[in-house]
């Protein structure tokens, strides 16, 4: 970046510039007063902005049709995570066709940089970054989100279903 200096005579007249600026402010003030619907600013936190569903916000662990966790504990998200904020402990599943599942899955939200690499690494669409973007908390709040929060928090209404289904994959011969 370079600095461009304007040393011309006209630039020494500052008053017209200031008046132009004030004019713009006044124009918007009047416009917003009489046309509140098209106002850009919102009254946060009473009003909240709706981001697109593709926004990379808080993580969601998806579930299978029966409501159990889709994650297979392959650790690819934890491996791919640049902030190293994902901790998974795997265990043997009683169902042989499932074989491996996470008994604990924790994301340290204060470390997370919301890059979405975990989502990209996941082979079974088990983790997604959802549109939720507000994560406030007072002193001592727990930002180590566990399975209960990541998959079954109240606003997910019983869990988001994964698009990768093992039963259907097996039926199609994979």
């Amino acid at each position: 970046m370079s600095v461009v200096k304007n040393d011309s005579k006209s630039s020494q007249w500052y008053l017209p510039g200031i008046l132009t600026g004030l004019g713009i402010t006044a124009k918007h003030l009047v416009k917003n007063l009489f046309n509140k619907k098209e106002m850009i600013t919102i009254n946060y936190p009473e009003q909240k902005h709706e981001y697109s569903p593709r926004f990379k916000g808080n993580h969601i662990l998806t579930v299978k049709k029966d409501g159990s966790l889709r994650c297979t504990a392959c650790m690819l998200c934890a491996t791919n995570c640049p902030a190293e904020c994902i901790t998974i402990h795997a265990s043997e599943h009683p169902d042989a066709s499932v074989e491996k599942f996470p008994i604990s899955y924790e994301i340290d939200m204060l470390r997370c940089v919301f890059c979405g690499f975990c989502e990209e690494a996941c082979p079974v669409d088990a983790i997604r970054l959802g549109p939720e973007w507000q994560t406030p908390g007072v002193n001592g709040a727990n930002f180590n989100y566990d399975i209960k929060h990541l998959a079954y928090r109240a606003n997910l209404k019983g869990g988001i279903q994964s698009v990768v289904d093992d039963v259907e994959r097996h039926k199609s011969g994979i």
């Binding site: 297979t72 504990a73 392959c74 650790m75 690819l76 491996t79 791919n80 640049p82 795997a90 265990s91 043997e92 042989a96 066709s97 074989e99 491996k100 082979p123 079974v124 097996h170 199609s172 011969g173 994979i174």
Partner: protein, 544 residues
């Protein structure tokens, strides 16, 4: 083991041959794959293993021999004089590629849940030769998953490529014949004979030699992904055989032990018992701090070094015949030398005793690797003791403790306490001493059961993983090993204990910053380039 046998045979004629344009000098009778393996040439293979017989079933080790219109398998073709072999031509690569596709026809591709992922033969060869979409349109054959083969091994027949390495292992090495291949065609699968379990003392070797994730170890299953672990070479301290091993570890501790090829000792194998020797190294079973038992209660927690310094006065003032030292066969030769010379030369005490936990089984041998002497360094201890002309009997110690002649007793306790069945009995005996100084790497819950304790100081020791040294095995072979990693940093080695007890300061090695990057100053657990290459995915992230 087979390698030892071939070496013992009479001198063989050497043959000239050319592999991939490199002129080689090869022993007569060796196969092409052996010649390539010994000369560090790369060749894809699944069924061939240097320690097993030739099966020739995977058809992956294809080579082109000049003068022969068809490709040959390298594992079952012997080298003849003037042979010109290559495995890098387009024809060979094409053959390997489609051979691999046949292996993958019914492979379930469940790498995400497979323990072998990261060290899998199929993944390696696919990255090398494959990278195509499968030509198969038919659905995959379903087979049994998570089959409980025995107390140590789990089978997944879908992942199996029927290389028959495990079957040949149970036939030829362990000679227990539990495994076999059942059914025909694409329904063929590995299994055990009716009513039998894969239950022998070497069963986990089948997991090591399985090139895919068909056989997995119950102990290691799902505990870590392979790429999170670093490996380092060491010597097994499970028994007096002293197999060369590799331990796999990360900052959370140690996770598994695998054999490393050593023709002079263990060949390619190791026993299942030796694979448990990582467990007593991990923090959960370790003594972390020094404690004192005084006035009928355990208390006064302190650091190991400080606790040893507090003992200096005792060593200075006590009479030589009031002191005694008890040693087990679990420490290194260097440590024995340090502590025995401290007692014999510095304190002028000849009361040094050998705690032998398995006198009756010392010479037991199962014919392959396992020996009855469960200490890695009994020979080393005996050598050091005879060097200092110490010949004492265990009954002397018992008598002297009973009569109250020995006031201060130093015991260097065992690391692997699971093989010390007489531990509680011996602790009861030691507790007769007025002041018992017990050096141990393991935390002992047995102290609770001993009612006759008077005054005890326990001091944490380092295990064989955390120090460099030498073990002398049953045959008198001295094997040096290096420190792998540190688990309990505040623990002492026996040499350090002897040094502190003398009143000397510990020499702490430090490195000038200019020398920091040179190879001789590298930390034992430093990630070196080799590991980086192996874990390319982790370390190169962000560069693509």
């Amino acid at each position: 083991m087979s390698e030892i046998i071939t070496e013992n045979k009479t001198e063989k004629k050497m043959l000239n041959c050319k592999i991939n344009g490199v002129a080689l000098f090869v022993k007569e009778g060796s196969t092409i794959i052996q010649a390539m393996y010994e000369n560090q040439q790369k060749i894809a293979h699944y069924c061939w293993h240097p320690g097993l017989s030739i099966a020739g079933v995977c058809r992956l080790c294809m080579v082109e021999v000049t003068g022969n219109p068809r490709l040959q398998i390298a594992c079952n073709t012997q080298v003849i004089e003037g042979m010109d072999i290559n495995n890098t031509s387009a024809k060979v690569i094409e053959a390997t590629k489609w051979g691999l596709d046949f292996h993958l026809i019914n492979h379930p591709l469940d790498c995400p849940v497979c323990d072998q992922a990261g060290e899998c033969g199929l993944q390696d060869q696919y990255m090398e030769f494959g990278q195509y979409n499968s030509e198969m349109a038919e659905p995959k054959t379903k087979k049994h998953k998570v089959v409980d083969l025995g107390p140590t091994v789990v089978l997944d027949s879908e992942r199996c490529i029927l290389c028959s390495r495990c079957v040949r292992f149970t036939d030829e090495v362990s000679k227990t014949n539990e495994l076999g291949i059942f059914n025909r065609g694409d329904h063929a699968e590995i299994g055990t004979h009716a009513g039998k379990k894969l239950d022998n003392k070497y069963s986990l070797n089948t997991v090591d030699i399985c090139p895919v994730g068909a056989l997995t170890s119950k102990d290691f299953r799902f505990r870590q992904r392979a790429w999170y672990l670093k490996d380092a070479e060491t010597i097994c301290n499970g028994c007096s055989t002293g197999c060369s091993t590799k331990v796999y570890f990360n900052k959370e501790g140690l996770f598994r032990v695998k054999p490393k090829h050593n023709a002079a000792v263990n060949g390619y194998w190791m026993c299942d018992e030796g694979r448990n020797t990582y467990k007593f190294v991990n923090k959960e079973s370790r003594l972390l701090k020094s404690y004192q038992f005084k006035n009928n209660s355990w208390g006064f927690e302190s650091m190991a070094g400080a606790a040893t310094r507090n003992l200096i006065n005792i060593f200075k003032t006590a009479k030589a015949d009031e002191m005694a030292l008890v040693l087990t066969g679990q420490q290194t030769v260097e440590e024995y030398e340090a502590i025995v010379s401290f007692f014999a030369d510095h304190l002028k005490s000849k009361n040094i005793f050998h705690w032998n936990n398995n006198e009756s089984t010392v010479n037991d041998f199962d014919g392959l690797l396992i020996r009855g002497d469960k200490n890695p360094n009994t020979k080393g201890l005996l050598q050091v003791l005879s060097k200092h002309q110490i010949s004492t009997k265990w009954t002397d110690l018992e008598n002297q403790l009973a009569s109250g002649k020995i006031k201060n007793l130093v015991v260097v306790g065992p690391e692997n306490i699971s093989v010390y069945n007489d531990l509680e009995l011996k602790l009861n005996l030691f507790s007769k001493a007025e002041h018992l100084i017990y050096l141990s790497s393991a935390s002992l819950p047995q102290w609770e059961n001993i009612k006759t304790l008077k005054y005890v100081t326990v001091i944490p020791l380092k295990t064989y993983i955390e120090k460099s040294g030498t073990f002398i095995n049953y045959a008198g072979l001295a094997q040096k090993f290096n420190k792998v990693t540190t688990v309990v940093s505040e623990a002492l080695t026996v040499s350090e204990f002897a040094q502190l007890a003398k009143g000397e300061e510990l020499k702490i090695e430090y490195v000038v910053s200019e020398n920091l990057m040179t190879s001789e100053h590298q930390r034992a657990d430093q990630v070196v380039l080799e590991h980086r290459k192996k874990n390319e995915f982790v370390f190169n992230r962000g560069q693509f």
